[in-house]
Symmetry: C2
Subunit: 301 residues, 2 copies
Amino acid sequence: MSIVVVGSVAFDSISSPHGSVERAVGGSATYFSLAASIFSSVKLVAVVGEDFGAENIELFHRKGIDTEGLEVVEGGKTFFWQGSYMEDMNERDTIKTELNVFEGFDPTLPDSYRSSEFLFLGNIDPDLQIRVLEQVKGDPIIGCDTMNFWIDRKRQRLHDILKKIDILFINDSEAVQLSGEKNLIRAGRRLIDTGPQKVVIKKGEHGSVLFSGDEIFLIPAFPLEEVVDPTGAGDSYAGAFFGYLDSAGGIDNNFFKRAVVYATVVAGFTCEGFSVERLARLEREEVEERYKRFIEMFTIT
Amino acid sequence: MSIVVVGSVAFDSISSPHGSVERAVGGSATYFSLAASIFSSVKLVAVVGEDFGAENIELFHRKGIDTEGLEVVEGGKTFFWQGSYMEDMNERDTIKTELNVFEGFDPTLPDSYRSSEFLFLGNIDPDLQIRVLEQVKGDPIIGCDTMNFWIDRKRQRLHDILKKIDILFINDSEAVQLSGEKNLIRAGRRLIDTGPQKVVIKKGEHGSVLFSGDEIFLIPAFPLEEVVDPTGAGDSYAGAFFGYLDSAGGIDNNFFKRAVVYATVVAGFTCEGFSVERLARLEREEVEERYKRFIEMFTIT
């Protein structure tokens, strides 16, 4: 079984109260694929410039990630993002965004990618997400992420997508914005009514909620004494969610609940280092150990 | 077994996007005792003015709450608070506070109150909390609440109290303020180091965390589609927590975890009506039904 992810691969310069990194590897598809690769096989669709370098592509290969779908644009420059986290780590300022080769991104799935069991549409232009859906064969389980920028500009297009996907991943403020409901529980239920069978609302340090038909599954965040850099936590969450599901071989509701717990655990690890530093060296064993310990923290006996 | 609560009994005028009430019964000791009375016997220590009226005292008697410790000041006026909730219900403005008879409150425990098994010090002047502790006989389990006002003005006095109590109930921003730690997990652990065996950090709609020695227990809030009036949710939380503990007859850590879940459920009910409207007619059966349903929302099978 395998998972196709379409999204961004980028260079990130990040500063937080805990330090800073310059031009570290980032992007939604990077975090997603590294997290998913802990559990399963991942096929990556993204674009980078010539400056990305073989050593960075090697980062994916070491994790068994298929990069046939990673386009390298000769003479092009890789998407660059610079951001800074404030003292309380819940707010961040974007200092610079250079789309570079990402501006002309036209995702193309290699033939070997078209019949995968899982597909994740990272946070990119909804028009591109639609174009990816048109290339897919079979009936994969499809997840999708988005952001306020696209909800503002391409709301109708997003609603078209919601009708075609299985699981929407969205953060709390975006769920309110997209649904028009201020209350998160009503927001989740409203979004379910618009198409996807499942909606995951991510609340950062406050955990997440899985809406599944009429059912609600509530999960706190993994308690961290130090959040070094939350960049990519949401994409790692989705990556671990899909990675676990693909590896577990079942899709009844209990598998989805466990996927939410694995997702939470891996997102927590991601926050413990700058960029992909912690995620890239994360082993399945560490995840399993923390999974067990985490479940005990909210289990009543 | 019984629980003594010392705190405020007040009239509240509250407005929220869902409507408003004028001079409804409120106050920390009111919410606490109504919530605790669902599970156990409560003895109330507070002060009201002559304007409080027999029909309001009857509210306590209907729930079997002992009011021997409720002082009625002849010719005095009851503590009055007026507040307004904003659209997102997480922020509120205090429009008016009239301490009235509460200004001269000198809590005195009737003899029949001095040997109770549980004692809760509601959010009042730490000097008064100390004076209550001096009147207690035996070795009750003692809980304590406080607020930013007292942390600002009587920090040292609060630290004296922390050494004498078993469980601190505190909200997230106050935990940060009192501990000096911005990270909530570190804040909870730091507070444990200063005295109480257990610390409960309340995060409103984001749930709560029980710190118990080195252990952490995480619990989401009960998911509500409509929050009508969150006034008193924290005091109902503490009331249900103590009420359940007193009724359960055990104090190992599993009882405390269950107490946190009951507390969360009852606090949720409180938010469903203005003032004590929902809480005052809440039956144990409804609580048990929702307790079971709630646990299923975060249980992995």
